[in-house]
């Protein structure tokens, strides 16, 4: 089962003084286990461009489509047996403490 991990900032990060885990170690460990298929950090929101097509017209505008305080700063695609396994992977990511992580399963169009 594929899950997409949205790595986001949060207005209230963890205040625990112990150091956050190293992101490179996180990547290496979960690439090796086969749970992380791919992923990347994203450039800042000032580089974002939004594209829409309406009545055959392409509308290109600056900025992310939604103005929120929490920003998506990266993503990782996971392959996990179930949600609990995905939660275990997500909670080991440094941004689970520095920000927050949203886990979304792939849609299952086969399902009735």
């Amino acid at each position: 089962m594929k899950y997409l991990m949205f790595v986001c900032t949060d207005t209230e990060p963890d205040t625990d003084p112990t150091p956050e885990p190293d992101v490179n170690l996180w990547v290496d460990r979960h690439d090796a286990s086969g749970q992380r298929l791919m992923g990347m950090a994203l450039a800042p929101k000032s580089t974002a461009t939004t594209v829409r097509v309406r009545d055959g017209q392409t509308l290109v505008s600056d900025g992310p489509f939604a103005e929120t305080k929490e920003l998506i700063v990266g993503f990782d695609l996971l392959e996990c047996a179930d949600l609990d396994e995905a939660i275990e992977v997500a909670k080991a990511h440094p941004m689970a403490r520095g920000g927050r992580i949203e886990i979304r399963p792939q849609a299952d169009w086969d399902r009735s």
């Binding site: 047996a81 179930d82 949600l83 609990d84 396994e85 939660i87 399963p105 849609a107 299952d108 399902r111």
Partner: protein
């Protein structure tokens, strides 16, 4: 209906409901489809309720229900065309009536897995409670809707959303192990606690308290090493033991100090005290609630439910309010305030210290509890100050405080009781001044 027929119908209903709860978990596991499993189990239940009163309860009620439900599930699956349904069909074929014979461990384990799935933190809390009642306790959706003051369609949507998320996000059907169990168990216990309080509150559904007790028993039996699961069961039993004494003839709440203790359920109290004695590790000084086992690090410090149960046990085993072991209660509140700091805990802690160590100690703690402002206008906080002030000897001021508490009372009964206290103190105070 004759008495015999009524009794037969009642026995049939009890047997069918009990069996239903045992077949629904394996059906969900095998079909992987909550709605299908529930629909089929419901149909089997309806058929049983129709036939058993006349035909008699079969020797193996679970097996009977499972056969009917399984055949129904196969009918539905055979109408499906998708390949994966064929695979599920094979799994369902393997479900035999024997799967639902009374109490094989696998069935019991299935129910425990179901509890952890229904109480998964990735589901909204209201969905967890509703799903637990619907799927594990087999409470009909309209009854759940009524208890939570929402329409039946709202409750149906809530249940559907929860089941859809379980299926689409693939929330596992499994009891977590190791550190994950310690993370998840408190959430499961919290859902049970919510269920229980909903059965226990004045406007609640009394049957929910019984369901919560049954589930707590199941958890305690299946997770013998989890002290908090046992403690929760003990806490439920102790609160439940007062069910016949906590309301007067008019249905109004009777405070603990005025309850007729002869009406407390001694069997439930004895069972709860037995459970708490068995836990050990409570380390709170022996007062007949079992020998404290300070030296066993595996059992650790008592958790929040153990502390609440110990407090309830002190009340339940005391002959009267003055005879209550307030020192032990004060100790428990000290620890509870560390584990679960909250203004109400601090208030109760102040009251307990007031009994255990004198009104001055109580007033001191009460002042600190109210410093944050969270207890402003809370009648019980003002009444506590009034009571402590009266016992400290200032009856005139205590009477004024009881009057102030009455002005904030939430009900007429509460207001009357507070004004009565004020009047008693006023008379005593005037009498003393005149003498």
């Amino acid at each position: 209906m004759t008495e015999a027929r009524a009794a037969a119908a009642q026995a049939a209903a009890a047997a069918a409901t009990e069996a239903y709860q045992r077949i629904v978990a394996p059906l969900i596991r095998i079909t992987g489809d909550w709605t299908l499993a529930e629909d089929c189990a419901q149909e089997a239940l309806a058929l049983a309720l129709d036939r058993w009163p006349a035909d008699g309860v079969p020797d193996n009620p679970g097996g009977w229900l499972m056969t009917v439900a399984r055949n129904r599930a196969l009918d539905v699956l055979r109408r499906g065309t998708v390949e994966r349904r064929k695979l599920r069909e094979l799994a369902v074929l393997a479900l035999t009536a024997a799967t639902a014979e009374p109490e094989p461990e696998e069935i019991v384990d299935d129910r425990l897995r179901l509890v952890f799935t229904c109480c998964h933190p990735a589901l909204p809390l209201e969905g967890r409670v509703a799903l637990t009642l619907r799927t594990i306790c087999a409470v009909p959706t309209p009854d759940i809707a009524r208890a939570f003051l929402v329409s039946e369609s709202t409750m149906t949507r809530r249940l559907t959303r929860a089941k859809t998320k379980i299926s689409e996000a693939r929330i596992p059907y499994r009891v977590p192990t190791g550190p994950a169990l310690q993370e998840r168990l408190p959430g499961v216990l919290a859902v049970l606690y919510l269920l229980f309080t909903h059965g226990y509150n004045p406007d609640g559904e009394p049957a929910f308290a019984d369901e919560a007790i049954r589930l707590a028993r199941l958890l305690a039996r299946l997770m013998p090493a989890q002290a908090e699961a046992h403690a929760l069961l003990a806490l439920f039993l102790l609160q439940h033991s007062r069910r016949h004494a906590r309301r007067d003839a008019a249905g109004d709440l009777v405070p603990l100090d005025r309850q007729d203790r002869a009406r407390w359920d001694r069997t439930a109290i004895d069972e709860a005290v037995g459970i708490l004695s068995g836990l050990g590790g409570t380390g709170l000084g022996g007062t007949g609630l079992g020998e404290p086992d300070l030296g066993d690090p595996a059992l650790g410090e008592p958790g929040p439910y153990a502390l609440q149960a110990l407090i309830a046990a002190c009340h339940a085993t005391a002959a009267s309010v003055p005879d209550t072991d307030w020192r032990r209660i004060a100790d428990c509140y000290d620890r509870l305030a560390e584990l679960r700091p909250s203004p109400v805990i601090e208030l109760n802690r102040a009251v307990a210290h007031g009994y255990a160590h004198g009104p001055a100690a109580g007033l001191d703690l009460l002042g600190r509890a109210r410093a944050g402002g969270a207890l402003d206008g809370y009648p019980l906080a003002i009444a506590a100050e009034a009571d402590l002030t009266a016992r400290a000897g200032d009856r005139a001021r205590a009477a004024d405080l009881f009057r102030a508490a009455a002005a904030h009372a939430h009900s007429d009964v509460e207001r009357r009781a507070l004004l009565d206290r004020a009047d008693e103190l006023r008379e005593a105070s005037d009498g003393a001044a005149a003498a």
